[in-house]
């Protein structure tokens, strides 16, 4: 079994490794997916920043063209020369502005235009609060720069509305006469236009916890994004997208999870906390189940899956396992089974230990140990009976017949029984119908002197009826005690051993024992027959028979029978009358099976 265990261990380790690999494999894929998502968001964020810069250049160019309109130059020069501005002038300038804005249709049409004179006063507004004029916009960095001669852009907020603004100085001849400001609203349309369809991300513009515009209506957790923006401290806003500390944020919108990368917006709005976010729905977690669920038929095709390798490995594992099972378990087991069958049939008296490997050898050794034990017990029992009743007569069953049905015919304890036990159907009542059998002389055994053979009477082997089970009692040293079955006060240990004659022929102790009514044996035909035989043999040996009564004799037989049954577990006890050293003797033979 050693190699089977090794193989089982190897297969188990292989299975554990395979399971570990199966569970671990999605993790690198998940990391790769996260990295890919981060890369995608970073790229998209950078692209959007570039697009916003490009849009700003276009708007600045547009403002420059707007400022080069001669009518605007003229009107702003005139307004700059006035101490106060009136509504009539405002309407005139506004009309010119409307005309110019209409002329730039088809391009990116601004949401509003503001025309400012050299002093920074608003001469007119077009399409946004267009009735207001005269207030001073100088002071705003964009306007101050434009009045100084710069073209630039900014992000302004009017209330909750955010505008991308661009300004240009208005120069008439060699004089600065004012500036114009064009504004483009940041709205959903603008966000969608910036993102386009190729970036595969969403875009949102936010001011702290307020959404200014977004391509998707999902209400993202803006507090999380605002916290992310707060970490961005560097002066270069253009590097926000690639900043190492700026990693995609996990934000939720309703039941959906998104990854969002934030970047600050520049200008006045940026100074107030405005930012934009590039976000996308998080891909599903790539776990073992998801990986398995994502497999397609193509993944299991012969072209993409190493079926030969997997199948070969499976067959190899199976084959080696079966071989080892046969080699180390099945075949030795069959061998042991066959060996035990031989043992049962009596073809062998022991199991062969050397031919059975491993545990099977242990089983064989254990069985052999028990066989040896039983043999020793049989010898002991025989010795006890021999001591009790004398050696078995030649040809009698003797104590050696005690295990006749459980042990092989050839046993270490002695030769095979000379006389086979009587058939189970044999009864004392049937003794007349059975032929009388003479006991065959037993083979000589070492240490056991052969009995002196005189003329052995031919007595039939008579079996006793099966008694009810009784508590076991120690037979050793008891001899033919006169204790009755129902006399617990008198035990075998308390009674001294008696000789057969002392006992049966009215020994002092046996005669002194009280006799209870229950212990008085009734006349048993078998016991009576044995008694008669015993009496006859005694007479033939010229032994005295006075005092020998059937009651005492049968009582001893019952006691002897019960003790033997209790000790050996036999079913029956057969009594044989024989002559020992010129005297009548009685031999009890346990019969285990019929």
């Amino acid at each position: 079994m050693f190699w089977s265990k090794i193989w089982f261990f190897v297969v188990a380790v292989g299975a554990a490794i395979a399971l570990t690999v199966a569970l671990v494999m999605p993790r690198p894929a998940q990391r790769a997916a996260v990295q890919e998502e981060t890369r995608r968001l970073t790229v998209a964020c950078g692209v959007i920043n570039i697009l916003l810069e490009g849009d700003a250049r276009n708007r600045v160019d547009l403002a420059g063209k707007f400022a080069r309109n001669e009518d605007i130059e003229r009107e702003l020069a005139d307004a700059s020369a006035q101490a106060t501005l009136d509504e009539k002038r405002m309407k005139t300038v506004r009309g010119i502005g409307e005309t110019v804005m209409d002329g730039i249709k088809g391009k990116r049409n601004p949401a509003f235009a503001i025309l400012i004179d050299r002093k920074g006063r608003v001469v007119a507004r077009v399409r946004y609060e267009d009735s207001e004029f005269g207030d001073v916009l100088a002071g705003r960095p964009l306007v101050d720069d434009a009045l100084a001669g710069y073209l630039r852009d900014d992000i302004w907020m009017f209330g909750r509305t955010t505008f991308l603004v661009a300004a240009s100085p208005v120069i008439k001849g060699t004089e600065y006469v004012g500036a114009i400001v064009l504004g483009h609203k940041i709205d959903t349309e603008f966000a969608k236009k910036i993102v386009g369809k190729s970036l595969l991300v969403e875009l949102g513009f936010y001011l702290n916890n307020d959404t200014l515009a977004a391509t998707e209506a999902a209400a993202l957790e803006q507090s999380t994004m605002a916290q992310g923006v707060a970490k961005l401290k560097g002066p270069e806003l253009a590097t926000d997208c690639t900043n190492d500390i700026n990693t995609p944020l996990a934000v939720r919108a309703g039941g959906d999870s998104y990854s969002a990368l934030v970047a600050r917006l520049p200008g006045e709005a940026g100074a107030r906390g405005a930012f934009y976010s590039v976000f996308a729905k998080k891909p599903a977690e790539i776990g073992f189940g998801a990986t398995l669920g994502g497999a397609t038929k193509d993944d299991l095709g012969f072209g993409s899956f190493p079926w030969i390798l997997v199948g070969g490995g499976f067959l190899l594992a199976l084959g080696v396992g079966i071989f080892l099972m046969l080699f180390e378990a099945d075949r030795p087991l069959r061998r042991l089974a066959a060996d035990t069958v031989k043992l049962a049939k009596g073809d062998s008296e022991r199991l062969a230990e050397d031919i059975h490997p491993g545990k099977f050898g242990s089983i064989a050794r254990s069985v052999n140990i028990h066989i040896d034990k039983l043999g020793r017990e049989a010898k002991t029992a025989k010795k006890d009976l021999d001591q009790l009743l004398g050696p078995a007569p030649e040809g009698s069953l003797g104590t050696i017949d005690l295990l006749a049905t459980a042990l092989p015919s050839i046993r270490p304890g002695g030769a095979a029984p000379a006389v086979s036990p009587p058939p189970s159907e044999f009864r004392f009542g049937d003794s007349g119908s059975q032929p009388a059998r003479m006991p065959t002389p037993p083979p000589s055994r070492p240490g056991t002197p052969p009995p002196v053979r005189k003329t052995p009477p031919a007595f039939p082997a008579i079996s006793t009826p099966t008694p009810q089970p009784r508590p076991p009692q120690d037979l050793v040293g008891t001899g033919f005690e006169a204790a009755g079955n129902n006399s617990p006060s008198i035990t075998a240990q308390s009674a001294p051993p008696l000789t057969l004659d002392d006992d049966i022929l009215g020994g002092s102790q046996a005669a002194q024992l009280p006799k209870s009514p229950e212990s008085s044996p009734r006349v048993d035909p078998y016991f009576r027959q044995v008694y008669d035989q015993f009496l006859a043999v005694k007479k033939s040996c010229n032994e005295p028979t006075s005092g020998l009564t059937y009651e005492k004799f049968s009582e001893k037989l019952v006691k002897n029978r019960d003790d033997l049954i209790a000790k050996t577990g036999c079913r029956e006890v057969r009594f044989t009358v024989y002559i020992k050293e010129g005297k009548a003797a009685l031999k009890a033979t346990p019969v285990k099976e019929e």
């Binding site: 700003a56 250049r57 916009l137 002071g139 960095p141 710069y150 100074a271």
Partner: protein, 229 residues
């Protein structure tokens, strides 16, 4: 000149009660400093227009002239009221002088409601929106000090109130000229630029009769404190 003259006259008229002689001075400025980098940038850097050079920083709106009587450190008597207009995204004058003890009244003539605060003393101006067109907010000055007034929602909106221990304080016009009515005597002329007093001072003697026309040539507009650093 026309926009600057009004507050100059206003301040000097309000505070004079005795025979005063006109002082028509002129500040000769050094080369205008270059426009600093933008504090707020857009998506793209600002670019110069191809037609005309960039204008320098206008210095004169940021100048203030004060005449302090030699050895007189007492607060002006009955300094009166100083009115200061908020005209949009800036004050009509980015810097204004106020005698110590004067009341400064800020009038919001713009279209936008503002919430103003003095950075040096947040409790100086009553909190709350100042309504457009008609809204006013006033505060009293006590000691010579420089107050920076701004709107936290519009950080670009900055004005400074310069409280001085003399009633003779005036802005200068685009040409660097200023006018004050000052009693006879010897005075120390100090110049305030943007957010600091210049280290340079001049002594001006006002005669009993006639116009006094001092000309002060400014050597540097630098902040002496920063220069010392």
């Amino acid at each position: 000149m026309h926009r600057l003259a009004l507050p100059v006259i206003l301040v000097s008229v309000v505070h004079h009660n005795t025979a005063a002689n006109p002082v028509h001075g002129k500040i000769e400025l050094p080369t205008a400093p270059e426009r600093p980098p933008p504090t707020v940038k857009g998506f793209v850097d600002r670019v110069e227009n191809p037609k005309k050079p960039i204008q320098g920083v206008p210095v004169t709106p940021l100048l203030l002239v004060a005449l302090e009587k030699d050895g007189d450190t007492a607060k002006p008597e009955s300094p009166g009221q100083v009115k200061w207009d908020l005209v949009g995204d800036s004050f009509a004058k980015p810097v204004i002088g106020a005698p110590a003890g004067a009341q400064v009244v800020i009038r919001n003539t713009s279209n936008t409601a503002r919430t103003l605060v003095a950075l040096e003393d947040p409790k100086l101006i009553q909190t709350g929106l100042i309504n457009p067109k008609i809204g006013e907010r006033s505060f009293n000055t006590t000691e010579p000090k420089i107050y920076t007034i701004t709107d936290k929602d519009a950080p670009h909106l900055i004005g400074r109130v310069v409280v001085v221990n003399t009633p003779y304080v005036a802005n200068v016009d685009a040409a660097g000229k200023f006018e004050l009515d000052v009693p006879e005597g010897s005075y120390k002329l100090r110049v305030f630029f943007k957010d600091h007093w210049l280290a340079q001072t001049e002594t001006v003697t006002v005669a009993a009769k006639g116009k006094t026309e001092p000309t002060i040539k400014i050597a540097s507009l630098a902040n002496p404190t920063e220069k010392a650093k």
